[in-house]
Symmetry: C2
Subunit: 121 residues, 2 copies
């Protein structure tokens, strides 16, 4: 059995599943309504299979309030994933700092070059 965090990341590792979550971020919807935009590219069973992966990971729940049991986005598993990622924030901020530093050096060099060209005239 997969651990929670692996299950969440695994569920997110697919553009269709992320598109389903994006749709559900706008509000609850029925399975058929949810599937509709994907049916040009895939079959209904293929969409429901993706939906089941999301349900198993706890990212989508089916409401028991209404008889048509609408699908709902549940963000709770994303919290754990986001907390995990936060630890690594320093590593991408470092990379962007280095990129920033590099761009500054390049710009400074270009400016210096421009000035020396100017002197030649």
């Amino acid at each position: 059995m997969q651990d929670h965090l692996s299950q969440t990341f695994s569920a997110l590792a697919d553009p269709t599943r992320r598109a389903i979550l994006a749709r559900l971020s706008k509000g609850e919807t029925s399975v058929s309504e949810l599937a509709e935009p994907f049916l040009k590219e895939m079959s209904l069973p293929a969409v429901t299979k993706h939906l089941k992966v999301l349900e198993k990971a706890g990212l989508v729940t089916k409401s028991r309030e209404a008889q048509w049991r609408p699908c709902k986005l549940n963000g709770t598993p994303l919290k754990e994933a986001s907390d995990w990622m936060d630890f690594y924030r320093q590593f991408w901020e470092e990379s962007f700092d280095r990129l920033d530093e590099y761009l500054k050096t390049v710009t400074a060099k270009k400016k210096a070059k421009g000035k020396s060209h100017g002197r030649k005239k």
Copy 2:
């Protein structure tokens, strides 16, 4: 071919690969040194296979500075993943707000019950 974001999430969907990243967060290391703690549970080819998944996702790079080509963590792909997740922050914060609300109600009910028991004495 998988899109970037799917490749990142897919690479993170494994506890061994996340443990490799955790080790690399402490600093660069050689493949053999990196593999060492995992060899009780799996073979060296199994570890290098995990490492290759991380490299393919751009999460690990092999430095060209030294002859022993140390492995290094690269956080840049995590930025995209974290940005994607940030959009959904409202959904887990909402859940925790609801939980908080529920716990307040339960505590208030317990207190009220305690008081009424007190009056009976």
